[in-house]
Symmetry: C2
Subunit: 343 residues, 2 copies
């Protein structure tokens, strides 16, 4: 059985999820929904993807641009088993009743409030909680990055509390109207930032407080993580836990010369489509352990880290595969787990 | 006959030229020379490229990093017919006598002074002047970009003079120590900038004056070009000349939504290795023609625009192929000429 998948919204995340879905043997990408007839719409069509529009209204804009849309969102919803909503932050909630009325399952992104779906989702942390639900919300890129490290260490060493400081990228590459371009912005100026509570939608038992700033870059986020374990551990224990975990790349500056998000993306451009790094990157030499305290610095590629999570969420909601099987298939199909030159 | 090629220097340009050479049926990439055992060295080795070091001195650094170098530059020079020098600006000149002594042909980059080689080179403008010479200098990215447009229009419409203003990118992605990060720098504050005289190394008859600034971006350069033709022309004439020229992509904002270098690279990431755009990009709606005056705005991908030029320079110096044949083979092997979504 191949699950029929639609993707509503074709921006940073939607484009990548559609691409990833098209690589899964147990899924069929039926189509995507795009608002504007721009280069991304043209590229989708050039790749053989059927492009739908939200409403009849946008059909004429596509026609004027010489593009033939396959129909409207309503048409698409009639042909799929599940929809991945990748519309802009907050817009997904307005579509939730539409998906529900169409009788199909739905996956939302982390820009929505948690109550948009039955469960917030991270494959490594709580895949099983999403099994056969009607809807799930894949938590945001920053939350996904935090959860990868936390669940990896929690599984092997036990995590008691987390304090994290997030240095967020200002915009994605193509978002030329977003800033900042010359400031470090407290985002938000209050504590906690929404990331801590968002982590708790998946790990409600965790003591976590996050703070965040936004800086002028488009490449990746960087997080400082300070963690208390349930008992003492060695640096080797921590390193081994992170290294043996899926979707985490431990990158040694000593052996690679990589000291920045720029080096990571520059390296990824040679071996990954679009230079994407869906794995969490932990800088090896930044790992510091004292007793039960663990400190490390990690980098999160905001454009792609949630892509494998969305693929797994599709399998969880539709009962296609177990957690281990889904993660294995997803990672293999996307070429995750090794990145020549870095890991 | 396959020409045996070495590449000395494995940074932005060297990595890409080595990659491009490895795609040519009439060339064999014998090896590259790399100074540091960093991620780029590891990636080269992972791709099966033999990595040499400049001198015995660097061998131990590679050994300490667990990497086995194939030998030194001297060893490599004994195995090749031609070397592409892609060392940092000004360093190539110090190697010129070394290449000469080894009895091999050499290609230098635009960061060297013109007298480093027998001829300055641009495939479209003066391929034949480099045929069977001992050495050539591929002009810089900005000069290459200017020349593409100028030679395209000169061939079809006749160009009398050019005034251009260059908005230069501050650094390449991985150059994390270069700026500016918050200034528009006159680079240089005097007129002409070196680009005008550099264009004249290829087109000595041209009346050209260039000025330039540098801005905080890593993606691409952008040029404002103001040109006088030898006679009046229509906008359609100019558009047709640019559109029918190889290695120029005329991108319509109206049909693609692309209004920035960010949109160009974002689109290229989906259909080109590393998101490279070796073609000159001319923004269609920026083309303005009044009588004999032509104005347009173009974008230059500094990391890749000289890559096809280096490949053609190898063929010109070694007499492997005619101009038309070489350009055709190079463009075909690199997938140039169309970019889904944009052109």
């Amino acid at each position: 059985m191949r699950v029929r998948v639609g993707v509503n919204g074709y921006g940073t995340i939607g484009r990548r999820v559609a691409w990833a879905v098209s690589l899964q043997d147990d899924m069929e990408l039926v189509g995507v929904v795009k608002t504007r007839p721009d280069y991304a719409a043209r590229q989708a069509m050039a790749s053989g993807i059927r492009v739908y529009v939200p409403t009849q209204k946008e059909l004429s804009a596509f026609e004027a641009a010489g593009l033939e849309a396959a129909g409207t969102l309503e048409d698409l919803l009639g042909k799929v088993d599940i929809i991945v909503d990748a519309t802009p932050d907050g817009v997904g909630a307005s579509y939730a009743p539409v998906y529900s009325k169409a009788g199909i399952k739905a996956i939302f992104q982390g820009g929505e409030e948690p109550n948009v779906a039955e469960v917030s989702f991270n494959a490594m942390c709580n895949y099983d909680e999403a099994q056969n639900r009607r809807s799930a919300r894949v938590v945001s890129c920053n939350t996904t990055g935090l959860l990868r490290g936390i669940c990896s260490l929690n599984e092997r060493l036990g995590v008691r509390s987390v304090r994290a400081f997030l240095v967020r990228r200002g915009a994605d590459m193509h978002e030329v109207r977003r800033g900042p371009i010359n400031s470090i912005v407290l985002s938000p100026p209050t504590v906690p930032s929404h990331h801590g509570p968002d982590v708790k939608t998946v790990l409600p038992w965790l003591d976590i407080v996050t703070s965040a700033v936004t800086v002028p870059t488009t490449l990746m986020h960087v997080h400082y993580v300070n963690m208390r374990l349930r008992s003492r551990a060695t640096r080797e224990d921590v390193l081994e836990a992170l290294r043996s975990s899926r979707r985490i790349l431990v990158v040694s500056t000593k052996y690679t010369g990589a000291t920045s998000t720029a080096h990571l993306i520059d390296a990824a451009r040679w071996h990954r489509p679009r230079g994407d790094i869906p794995e969490l990157v932990v800088f090896e030499e930044s790992i510091h352990v004292e007793g039960d305290e663990v400190i490390y610095t990690q980098a999160v590629h905001q454009e792609s880290i949630v892509v494998p999570e969305n693929v797994d969420a599709i399998r969880a909601l539709t009962g296609l595969a177990s957690k281990e099987r889904s993660i294995e298939v997803t990672d293999s199909s996307l070429g995750l787990g090794s990145l020549p030159g870095l890991f």
